[in-house]
């Protein structure tokens, strides 16, 4: 056994990483690429003898099936490569912030194919899109990979030419919004024009070529002011552009766009995926104080954007699906309270549950043995794990023990090796 003297390094995309990983970049084939050349390692001057090295040449941690629409249970636990364009389009936000430096350090971006994603894909394949949209709910404890699964599913739908509307983190709407004005459309509501405009621009970037080729038209006339009118039959992209130019109307434009998308999806012109991370934040108190009292807060349900998103989450339309996650971090409840739970009914509350019911809850568990080994194989392949002890079975056992095979924790532990 090794005495565990670990170099405690905070490595975030350091230069040496990029150099070491670039060499193995080209050699990623379907099987057997996740191995290391031990002789080479020894030549580089690592003096510690490696006892019990991980089986040579057998580590399978990748698949070359980069098309997520082809992913099945056969690919479980394997990494697939996501093209940089796909990252830019669908996963620019929403993943754990630590993963982006990791992508840069690895000189590639890979996601693991995991069982929850496969399960939802199977359901999506089996579903009939002339029936009301089915809502899927991902739940699991912190760091178990809910957002990554959501990203995988967005990639899955996006590659099949679905229109994707993504809210990377719902609680942002009621915590950090800079600009809030009373709604002109409906009394008692609060508009967040900047956030709405951001959502619209995100919709454009996510679905840019698709929306243009589909050339969707509006179903009715929208009068914004005396001069500004969107006629019936105008292009949807024009409507979105209007919202982006006249930020004042962005929240209302957002409502109109959602209405139009629902109508188009119901008439079968397009399929729509609604992806919302931290959906339980929509039934929470906001951090915005009321004017009459310092101790009274607005409820998230009073925000226009939340109301529009709720319209999208309803199942009164067909030709699409919603995938949401519930997260402990999205509530204002105490995180370390022993009474908290990551289960959907607890996090959504009675009102949220009543609104979303019936939905399909999908548990995102921690890594299984196979997945955890695959993950460490991949890290080894990318030379992320450099300490010789980290390449042994004993080192792995230690990492698994310390992280309890929780994906985020495993990454945090592995970064010390």
């Amino acid at each position: 056994m090794f005495s565990i003297v670990r170099p405690v390094l905070r490595r975030s995309a350091c230069a040496c990483r990029l150099i070491t990983s670039s060499s193995s970049n080209n050699s990623s084939t379907e099987q057997g690429s996740g191995t290391i050349n031990f002789n080479e390692l020894f030549q580089k001057g690592i003096e510690n003898p490696i006892r019990n090295p991980v089986k040579k040449g057998l580590a399978v941690c990748r698949t070359n099936q980069t098309d997520p629409s082809q992913h099945t249970i056969r690919h479980e636990g394997l990494y697939y490569r996501v093209a940089p364009e796909a990252i830019q389009r669908w996963m620019k936000e929403g993943l754990h912030p630590d993963i982006y430096p990791l992508f840069r350090a690895f000189n590639e971006s890979c996601l693991m194919v995991r069982r929850p994603a496969i399960e939802i894909m199977e359901c999506m394949r089996a579903a009939d899109y002339s029936l009301p949209a089915i809502r899927y709910m991902l739940y699991g404890r912190a760091g178990s990979g809910k957002s990554s699964t959501l990203a995988h599913l967005m990639h899955f739908c996006g590659s099949q030419d679905w229109v994707i509307t993504h809210v990377p983190w719902a609680p942002v709407l009621h915590r950090y919004s800079k600009e809030r004005v009373p709604s002109t459309f409906k009394e008692g509501r609060i508009d967040q024009p900047a956030d709405a405009a951001k959502w619209l621009s995100r919709l454009m970037t996510t679905n840019d070529p698709l929306l243009k080729t589909l050339n969707l038209k509006t179903h009715r006339k929208y009068i914004w002011s005396r001069r500004e009118v969107t006629e019936e039959g105008d292009a949807l992209t024009e409507l979105i552009d209007f919202g982006l130019q006249r930020v004042k109307y962005a929240p209302d434009v957002m409502g109109a766009v959602i209405r139009e998308l629902k109508l188009h999806a119901s008439s079968g012109n397009v399929k729509v995926l609604v992806a919302i991370d931290g959906v339980n934040g929509m039934w929470e108190q906001t951090r915005y104080i009321r004017e009459e009292s310092r101790h009274k807060f607005f409820h998230a349900q009073e925000l226009t954007i939340v109301q529009h998103l709720m319209e999208f989450l309803k199942n009164d339309w067909t030709g699409g699906a919603s995938v949401c996650t519930v997260d402990e971090g999205a509530t204002i409840k105490e995180m370390n309270d022993p009474l908290t739970s990551y289960m959907p009914r607890f996090l959504l509350g009675q009102k949220g549950f009543d609104f979303l019911d019936p939905f399909i809850p999908v548990h995102v568990p921690d890594y299984s043995d196979k997945e955890a080994n695959s993950c460490l194989d991949y890290y080894t392949d990318r030379k992320w794990i450099q300490h010789p002890a980290g390449l042994t079975e004993a080192g792995r056992t230690e990492m698994f023990f310390l992280s309890c095979k929780n994906p985020l924790e495993l990454y945090k532990v592995s970064r010390r090796w």
Binding site: M1, L402, C404
Partner: protein
């Protein structure tokens, strides 16, 4: 002198009377409790007295008891004079004969060491550094321990002079020549780890061996069950390790004994911890997880982290 001898005689007679009274009382008690007087042990007596004369006094010493006179009556020093009335001990009139005899012997030892050293110097030899007594591995006996050994009360000044003299002896270059004499007054520290007994294995219905133990650190308490032939599965208070210890330092604490004994991933642990904060909980678990796993390996003497934290410890 006569008075002294009379006293001694009287004491013996007194003790004999007490013992015979105890024996008769024992038979009476057995009769009262309806038990067999021949097989009535001290344990039965204690139980019977507790039943007949129940007392709720906090100090158990102050409750009624019926013990053998030898256990109750303090021992007197044996006679120190012969029949003629002469004291046996040469240093009797120093009032602390044992202590002053010891000091005398020690000075004699020191002087002889000096002479021996002079001889060696004259011969041109040097002290053998390999044989040198390792001072760090043992400590001087404490004052009560010395008193116990000598059967005499010592003042602080006397104890200090004892320590000073013996320190001079042990610091002498050839003190190893008198190692047996010196080591009589020193306590070896590494004996601590040898004392801890290795617990026996328990088997459940399925025949799977496990061990139970409990331990504490600060205000935390831990109760642990360790199953061998496991797969490294850990449950703490019904949840897994990550839920119970979000800090990685705490998880490392729990891991360290398993890591040391090379049982990581080979035993299943079921633990319950209560009280205290997260780090003391982890500490309690660490002390705990250690003792059962240690049964698989020889007693641990080398690692300072593994030895239980006694107040006086060589490792600090």
């Amino acid at each position: 002198m006569r008075a002294y001898l009379e006293r001694a005689k009287a004491h013996d007679a007194f003790m004999q009377g007490e013992i015979s009274e105890y024996e008769i009382g024992k038979r009476h008690l057995a009769n009262i409790m309806g038990a067999d007087p021949d097989n009535f042990s001290q344990e039965d007596i204690d139980k019977a007295v507790e039943y007949l004369l129940p007392s709720g006094l906090f100090d158990k010493e102050a409750r009624p008891k019926m013990k053998h006179p030898h256990d109750v009556i303090p021992k007197r020093k044996a006679a120190e004079f012969d029949v003629d009335g002469r004291p046996f001990h040469t240093y009797f009139y120093t009032a602390k004969p044992q202590f002053f005899k010891l000091m005398h012997d020690a000075v004699f030892v020191l002087e002889s060491l000096k002479k021996e050293e002079d001889k060696m110097l004259r011969r041109g030899e040097e002290a053998n550094a390999d044989k040198k007594i390792i001072i760090g591995a043992s400590v001087w006996l404490t004052k009560p321990a010395v008193e116990e050994k000598l059967q005499e009360k010592l003042s602080d000044e006397e104890y200090d002079s004892f320590i000073r003299l013996f320190t001079r002896i042990i610091e002498h270059p050839i003190s190893y020549a008198e190692e047996t004499f010196i080591m009589q007054y020193r306590r070896v520290l590494s004996a601590e780890s040898m004392i801890s007994s290795i617990p026996e294995l328990i088997y459940d219905e399925a025949g799977r061996p496990y061990q139970e133990a409990e331990g504490a650190r600060k205000t935390s308490k831990a109760y642990v069950k360790i199953w061998s032939q496991g797969s490294g599965h850990v449950t703490v208070n019904g949840t897994d390790l990550l839920d119970c210890f979000p800090e990685i330092l705490d998880r490392e604490q729990v891991m360290s004994p398993l890591h040391f004994t090379n049982t990581l991933g080979r035993v299943d642990i079921e633990a319950r911890v209560e009280g205290g904060g997260h780090s003391s909980r982890a500490g309690a678990l660490r002390e705990e997880a250690l003792s059962p796993t240690s049964s698989e390996i020889p007693p641990l003497r080398v690692s300072p982290r593994i030895i239980k934290n006694n107040n006086v410890s060589f490792f600090g």
